[in-house]
């Protein structure tokens, strides 16, 4: 029995030590996070979008939008301030949290959301893992909590640990305290240095849809309507000639946009303007700076057109 007591005391002491250390680590990490955000907001895109980003037009999307839409150019063309909140390789649920939070924090006039037909598909494990940047917001943001809980049934248990929340982040935080990323209000030009111009791929695509994602998608559309935020969906060109005639996800995307009367700018995707010129692309999935300039200009004309038509009606 004495043995058992001793064991229990040791275990208890060890657990208290861990809790204490975890608690301290939480403070330390939050301190580093604030410092990194102050020094290099563009290196902390998720935190910056959540807490600080502002613009009359706000752009959301993954890498294709990050290097595809140029805020300064848009401001010249449209006359209102623009911020590009895109974050590389981030899936639907990330955008879901960002858009919802931004609307509630600082309502923009327009939201431009870069989307592809496959974004409505069931998220892969990798997609879900990439949501870990949202972990620090688990307690304070209901949207983040909701999507993180979709990862597994144990997430609320895992989130008890501060260390786990900031898992894998330490280097990222430190490097952002000491370095600075220069961007054009969120836009990062992609150059072709080290890359050859891509060769045109062609094929057909067929993506499924995930009912939970579709529900969340519609939820955002309705929310924009209710709060009077103009939502514009865009499909950014890729250097691929894709046949979407059998694409279930694509058809659904169009159908939803039609049903809720949301503009979907898809004419530059699969358009000969882009498909005939490989020098506009860095690789098959991304526009380079030259391509981004062309696309942004074309998009602005289109947006003007949409806004004017809306005005008349």
């Amino acid at each position: 029995m004495n043995h058992l007591n001793q064991l229990a005391t040791k275990i208890l002491a060890f657990i208290s030590l861990i809790i204490l250390l975890d608690f301290t680590a939480g403070y330390l990490f939050r301190y580093l996070e604030t410092k990194a955000l102050n020094n290099n907001p563009q290196g902390m895109i998720a935190e910056f979008t959540m807490c600080r980003a502002e613009g009359d037009i706000m752009i959301f999307g993954a890498s294709e939008a990050h290097g595809g839409l140029i805020p300064s150019l848009m401001k010249n063309k449209l006359g209102i301030s623009v911020f590009n909140c895109s974050n590389d390789a981030k899936p639907f649920y990330y955008q879901y949290c960002m858009i919802n939070t931004v609307i509630e924090r600082k309502k923009p006039k327009v939201i431009i959301w870069s989307i592809y037909s496959c974004d409505l598909n069931t998220p892969t494990k990798r997609d879900m893992n990439s949501l870990s940047v949202l972990n620090p917001f688990y307690d304070t943001n209901d949207y983040c909590k909701k999507v993180i809980n979709k990862k597994s049934k144990y997430e609320n248990l895992k989130m008890v640990s501060n260390l786990y929340r900031y898992n894998s982040r330490i280097l990222n935080l430190i490097s952002n305290i000491f370095s600075k990323t220069e961007t054009d209000r969120g836009y990062v030009a992609l150059s072709n240095s080290g890359y050859k111009y891509p060769t045109l791929k062609s094929g057909s695509e067929d993506c499924g849809i995930d009912s939970e994602i579709v529900d969340s998608f519609i939820e955002i559309i309705k929310k924009c309507k209710a709060t009077d935020v103009e939502l514009i969906l865009i499909i950014i060109p890729k250097f691929e000639n894709i046949n979407n005639s059998e694409n279930f996800g694509y058809k659904n995307l169009i159908e939803i946009c039609g049903k809720y009367d949301v503009p979907l700018i898809k004419e530059f995707y699969n358009s000969p303007i882009f498909l005939n010129d490989s020098t506009l692309f860095r690789d098959n999935d991304h526009l380079n700076d030259k391509g981004a300039r062309l696309f942004t200009a074309l998009l602005c004309d289109k947006i003007k057109q949409i806004r004017e038509t809306k005005c008349i009606h």
Partner: protein, 478 residues
């Protein structure tokens, strides 16, 4: 559930607690139940295969033990080996054999499509098959007695800590322990927990971290320059060590928490000063198995050829080991290389020994360092074949390493650099254990504060730097 899932931690805790609460006579059956539960959770259907292999093993060992005639025993042994190994061969080589037949027919102008197998390899089949064959041969050689309790035999083959990835145990070590399962002692529990903690550190903070980089580079060999490929090739053996070594350590630790001592699998391999020493420190349980059941009989049969007999047996053994890793030419070359390395060493053994004695090099630190680095280079070179998808790719990588120099992709290394930090810790620990044993102790320190702080430190590292919710264990596919 795999060892790195939260489910496993719950499962493991419950098993340890219940194991200690229930009466001794039902412990074997309880562990057997837990092991099958664990296996069924991963591979429901293939549990039947495991049970069948268990049944055959039990039957054949009993027949051998009770048979009077030597010829009869031998026949049963051969039959038993064939029966037990056939599922492994079927699952391992089905698609390979299929491909060979189709290609041959195609060459003859026949277009025949054979039924393809959509089966995946049943997890752990290699490990329990090897253990079953080892047990059978040991019974035949009268090294162990055949066990009459089928529950114990079944537990031996299905024991959940080691079924997925070894260590490959021998009946002579495990079965006597299963016969008298005691309550876990405090020291076993603590020793086991320490191994589990360190094992998770190796797996999550080193192997999976380095894996992010190594996978990226090796999956895009055409994109990256030779220097980057070289760097990835240097990291890969470390990743492998931390992966299999970490996983084995978790397995050994988990078993220890149940009071069962399982053989070690790695012993600071990168401090080996020769390839033959390296193979006595790397994946030891597999090498032991290959030595006992393939190399020894082969070289014994060929011993009249003297040195050439040993060389032939050696090369054949490693080729078999290579093909076991994968029915592909890359693994064949991998095995062949190991065989060649070791053959050269055994042939030059006396010369090297004389040379070392002449210049008193045995304790010379520079000589040791150079030997360790040399062994590492040889091993990493062979692992390029182990890592690449095809023989063409492997030669492409080697060619590029030799010809196309450039800058290392440091930016892509960022997520893995935490792994380099952890790897440094591991190498320091291995270094101290190797050359200054019992001098700098952390986990085993007499001072309780230092001890607890070092557990906490490793736990914190795991939580901050471990790769969670991620990929599969490399050795599952074998």
């Amino acid at each position: 559930m795999t060892f790195t899932s939260l489910n496993f931690l719950f499962f493991f805790t419950i098993v340890v607690v219940l194991f200690n609460l229930i009466p001794q006579r039902v412990r074997v059956w309880f562990l057997l139940f837990a092991s099958y539960f664990f296996y069924i959770d991963l591979m429901p259907v293939f549990a039947i295969l495991l049970a069948l292999v268990t049944g055959c093993t039990y039957l054949f060992t009993r027949i051998i033990a009770n048979s009077k005639s030597a010829i009869g025993k031998h026949r049963v042994l051969v039959l038993g080996i064939i029966v037990i190994i056939s599922p492994l061969i079927f699952f391992k080589f089905f698609s390979f054999v299929n491909l060979v037949i189709t290609t041959l027919l195609f060459r003859c102008g026949l277009h025949v499509s054979l039924p393809t197998s959509s089966y995946i390899l049943p997890v752990g089949i290699s490990f329990y098959t090897f253990m079953a064959i080892g047990y059978l041969i040991d019974v035949y050689n009268e090294d162990v007695e055949s066990e009459s309790n089928i529950g114990i035999v079944a537990l031996f083959l299905a024991f959940f800590p080691i079924i997925l990835s070894g260590p490959i145990e021998r009946a002579g070590n495990l079965i006597p322990q299963f016969r008298k399962l005691q309550q876990t002692t405090y020291s076993d529990l603590v020793a086991g927990a320490k191994m589990v903690l360190w094992g998770y550190f190796l797996k999550l903070c080193i192997a999976d971290r380095l894996g992010l980089y190594v996978d990226l580079i090796f999956n895009n060999i055409h994109t990256y320059n030779g220097t980057t490929l070289l760097f990835a090739s240097v990291l890969f053996p470390f990743q492998l060590y931390a992966d299999l070594g970490g996983y084995s350590l978790i397995a050994i630790g988990v078993a220890r928490c149940l009071g069962i001592i399982v053989v070690p699998n790695f012993k600071r391999p990168f401090f080996a000063t020769s390839m033959s020493e390296f193979w006595r420190r790397w994946h030891m349980s597999l090498i032991k198995w290959l030595t006992n059941y393939i190399y020894t009989p082969l070289s014994f049969g060929l011993r009249r050829w003297k040195m050439s007999g040993i060389v032939t047996a050696l090369i054949l053994t490693f080729i078999i080991s290579g093909i076991w890793h994968g029915a592909e030419l890359t693994f064949f070359v991998w095995g062949l290389l190991q065989g060649i390395y070791l053959s050269i060493e055994v042939v030059t053994l006396k010369k090297r020994s004389e040379f070392k004695q002449k210049f008193c090099l045995n304790k010379n630190p520079w000589y040791i360092l150079i030997s360790c680095v040399w062994v590492f280079i040889l091993f990493s070179f062979s692992q390029i074949f182990g890592r690449c998808g095809s023989i063409g790719d492997a030669f492409y990588v080697i060619g590029k390493i030799l010809n196309v120099l450039g800058k290392i992709e440091w930016l892509k290394l960022m997520p893995s650099s935490l792994g380099l930090f952890s790897l440094t810790l591991l190498l320091i620990k291995d270094f101290l254990d190797e050359y200054y044993p019992n001098r700098f102790l952390l986990f085993e320190n007499k001072n309780i504060i230092i001890r607890h702080l070092s557990y906490a430190f490793i736990l914190i590292l795991i939580l901050t730097m471990g790769v969670f919710d991620s990929g599969q264990f490399i050795y599952f596919q074998f």
